[in-house]
Amino acid sequence: MVPSLLPPLMLAAPLAAAIAIAILPARDGGNRTIEAVHVASGVVVALLALVSVARVIGGADLVAFGGWLYVDPLAAIFVGLVGVVGLLTGLYAISYVRHDVEHGELTPQKHKIFYVFFNLFVFTMMLAVTANNIVMMWVAVEATTLGSAFLVGLYGRRSSLEAAWKYVIICTVGVAFGLYGTVLTFADGAAAFGDPEKAVFWTSLMADAGKLDPMLAKIAFVFVLIGFGTKAGLFPMHAWLPDAHSEAPSPVSALLSGVLLKCALFVVIRYLAVTSRAVGPEFPQMLLMMLGFLSVAVSAFLVYVQHDLKRKLAYHSIEHLGLIALGLGIGGPLGIGAALLHAINHSFCKALLFCSSGNVLMMYGTRDLQQVKGLLRRAPASGILLMAGALALAGFPPFNVFVSEFLIFAAGLAQGWWALMIVTGLLFTITIAALIHIISGSVLGKVPETVPVGDVGWRALAPMWALLAIVLVLGVAVPQPVAHLVREATAVVLGGDRSAAIAAPWQTPAEPVAELAPRAEPRI
């Protein structure tokens, strides 16, 4: 562990930006200074996040404030996601929000509020993923709800207020379960270690997990999984997600789906590691597998029947978070590594798609797929981006989602979950059909006569091209630093062995998947 100023700086930048923007005056048409502060904060956070990730890859776990903040390889993955996806969606937000102000959907005051809460939201997510103090971790996750609630309800329409209310009430109640789980874990640790100061840190809980009371550890994990699983959008606590994702401004939807869900999942993974050590991996993995599979199964059908583009994408988020939970539930180095890689891949892919949905909204003024036709002819760049995003999410090569999906399925088969993986695979074909439907119905086809030709501006397209580039790079070959980070993070979760390689067989460093996990008898 190396004391470092990086974590506090990563937190200070967005918080300072939020305060600065709150002080700046709102002007007609939107204050450009506000946008400049917002961009500066995004760039600084992304750079600091990447430097932190680089230091962690270099072998140094960063700590600050007497161990309150802690960035190990597991945290570094999520720090990187908050930094990079936060910056790209933040850049996209500039033209999106300007468009809304120009069309009278947002007042100059709301323009300012948007940037205040956007930066606060980034701050709270960064706090959640850098927290080592488990109570602070809870506080941060709860704060993400509070920070983003006004973003969800920003437009002040009946539907957006309803979505904001459901979001706040379901998530605060859900996260209250997380608090109870946190309190139980802390009390358990305090009694077991005889030192309350120590029991509050995840690192000490992890180091001495063997001393925890097994019964309390199990109960605590159930509470934690319900609590933070609500925030991660897992079935059956997912009811808030489609409403919040569809009613929020598109860049915020991208951030909610791309990053926020992963932050909640990060907390679950932290507790998964402690619980696995305390009571063995079977109990937490069985729960994760169950919730994961149910999330995939339920959302697959809901995706298909949706005609609202953003709701469709929201149900995809539930499905992919379910798949990640399934990967964690399968366990082993390959299962957990694949799940972490899928978390990264899904973040970038979904951010790209929600930004695409923003372009559709800017050009067509509707999210109804039955009214959106001929996007490719009307706006070739947006059309290609949406099409690429949809193909990527459907799991086609050479995009990144394919790689991690393949690895999760490989992990499941290697562990002998044949029936489960086959059913999951079939469920995924339904969603592929749904995504192809978006492409054939809305991206291709004729432009309606009434709609003028022309794309959105470069300011909106540039961050999206960057996202597409990342999606492609991660799909063609997982870059060495990412593979290394995922491997180390997997080792953190498993509490040891840092040797297993995470790469599909055709990628370098190539290793037959079967060798990574011991062959097992079919279980179902």
């Binding site: 709860e142 509070l146 309803e162 608090l179 802390f186 009390a187 009694a191 309350p196 309390l216 409403d243």
Partner: protein, 217 residues
């Protein structure tokens, strides 16, 4: 009477006050009863602090008094005092008598669950621990059984009080910052929910959760 017995006795009072919070006819009434309940919580913290010799808990009692007895009820009364939804009435999905019966079932179940915990710290205060757990679920029940969105906010407050009491009972010497973090967060949560509730009342003209049904599927 020993300190622990007093704690257990006071915990019983918490159940009564939370039922009052849930069955109060108006949100402002709930706010008043919530203040009363928080006062009982503070008394429990102080008794426990004296019994186990924890100066941390004494400090908690102070912060809880400020945030829960004063700040939250005053904020809620000031924010909500003026708004009303006469058509909604009390907004209960089930009659108060059934609520009380349901609460009894929850408490019995929680006593049964807590009985299985073997933590040495919990031995003397098991009844209070059972109450804190049932408090959590009573809050959840309040959210599910109330249609008035402002009373749902108090349901959350009850859940939060339950977790808070569990923390005090099981880890009396937790660092002060832990408690401050939880209390501050809870205050913010209540304020934001109340502000959203006000916006909804202004836009929809109602406080009925069942009217919030535009988004489906």
């Amino acid at each position: 009477m020993s300190g622990f017995q007093l704690v257990n006795g006071l915990a019983g009072l918490l159940i009564v006050t939370s039922l009052l919070v849930i069955t109060a006819r108006r949100p402002t009434g709930s706010a008043l009863f919530y203040a009363l309940q928080s006062l009982v919580m503070v008394a429990i913290f102080l008794t426990l602090a004296g019994t186990v010799g924890s100066h941390e808990l004494t400090a908690w009692a102070g912060t809880s008094f400020v945030t829960k007895v004063l700040l939250v009820p005053i904020l809620m009364t000031r924010l909500l005092g003026r708004i009303e939804d006469t058509k909604l009435g009390s907004g209960e999905r089930i009659p108060p008598a059934v609520s009380v019966l349901l609460a009894a079932v929850v408490v019995v179940l929680c006593f049964w669950v807590v009985d299985g915990v073997s933590l040495p710290a919990a031995a003397a205060i098991k009844p209070a621990l059972a109450v804190s757990l049932s408090h959590f679920f009573l809050g959840l029940a309040a959210i599910v059984t109330q249609r008035n969105i402002l009373k749902q906010v108090f349901g959350y407050c009850l859940m939060e009080n339950g977790s808070h009491l569990t923390l005090a009972l099981l880890a009396a010497k937790a660092p002060e910052v832990v408690e401050i973090g939880i209390a501050t967060d809870a205050v913010f949560a209540v304020v934001i929910m109340a502000v959203l509730g006000l916006q909804i009342h202004r836009t929809f003209g109602t406080l009925d959760a069942d009217q919030l049904t535009n988004l489906k599927g």
